[in-house]
């Protein structure tokens, strides 16, 4: 059936492609998606329109998946063994944050989404204190 929802569903993915590990990393990417999750949950809670609420869940799950993706990339590609020496709890921090992202994906708990934000902020501090803004952003990171 031809519905507005079907019309707006992307028919394909197009690639803003970069095939070199380019060394550009920033926890902000994960944070923006996590903020989306939190705001969407708030909108979900405030609405009694079932169609809107269904869309909220759909989009929130998608965004939570992106949080996991961005955290994984930081974890695998940015952080190096010397960072682990400085932060022995690095692996556990990421493990917990990505688990928290799964929790946000599965549920509609605004508290869980806020907790996820604070976990990403912890990772952000690790990224900053290991020279992330200067090393991985072009001309440093706009503050």
């Amino acid at each position: 059936m031809l519905t507005v929802r079907n019309l707006l569903r992307p028919t394909r993915r197009v690639h803003a492609h970069c095939d070199i590990p380019c060394g550009v990393y920033d926890p902000e990417q994960a944070r923006i998606e996590a903020e989306s999750c939190m705001k969407i949950i708030e909108k979900y809670d405030a609405s009694d329109d079932e169609v809107f609420r269904a869309r909220c869940i759909d989009v929130k799950e998608e965004r939570a998946e992106l949080v996991k993706h961005h955290l994984d990339v930081l974890w695998h590609d940015y952080f190096k063994p010397e960072h682990l020496e400085k932060y022995p709890n690095l692996h556990e921090t990421f493990w917990k944050a990505t688990k928290q992202a799964s929790k946000v994906k599965q549920g509609v708990d605004a508290g869980a989404a806020r907790e996820l934000l604070s976990m990403i902020d912890t990772i952000d501090e690790m990224w900053k204190s290991t020279g992330g803004p200067e090393k991985t952003r072009v001309n440093g990171r706009p503050s």
Partner: protein, 139 residues
């Protein structure tokens, strides 16, 4: 005469409906919606952004510098790229990502043939907070 005219109206109406439907289908086939993957167009376009693309303009004219277009990756034709036209050189286009330090584009695979570029990105409709015409989109 009056009777004949009266009988003609339903026919005209039906023809109008058919023409309208055919026109709508033709228009829909020249519009499409796509989702962005990858970050080489950041900060303008981010992964997950959903865009309206159209193939009307390039049926009539060539792409112009500054426009955001879809093109086959010459090295891997299954992959459809989204990049900005940096320069038009005859029948070849130089494509660039907006984040040049994090983009694979014409600097790596050379200029692409203008004939292969049919779709132009004109607006973002998702996420709603950043919905609107794309920066640099003309016409």
């Amino acid at each position: 005469m009056i009777q004949q005219g009266g009988r003609a109206w339903p026919l005209l109406f039906a023809l109008g409906l058919v023409a309208g439907a055919a026109g709508s289908v033709a228009l829909l086939r020249r519009l499409d919606v796509v989702e962005v993957a990858g970050s080489s167009m950041a900060p303008g376009l981010l992964p997950g952004d959903r865009l309206l693309v159209e193939s009307i303009s390039y049926a009539r004219r060539r792409p112009a510098a500054g426009e955001v277009v879809l093109a086959r990756d010459p090295r891997s034709p299954a992959r459809e790229l989204i990049k900005r036209v940096a320069d038009v050189q005859g029948s070849r286009l130089q494509l660039r990502g907006d984040a040049p330090e994090a983009s694979t584009d014409s600097r790596d695979f050379g200029a692409v043939a203008v004939d292969g570029v049919r779709w132009r990105a004109i607006l973002r409709y998702w996420p709603p907070g950043r919905a609107g015409r794309l920066p640099g989109a003309s016409g």
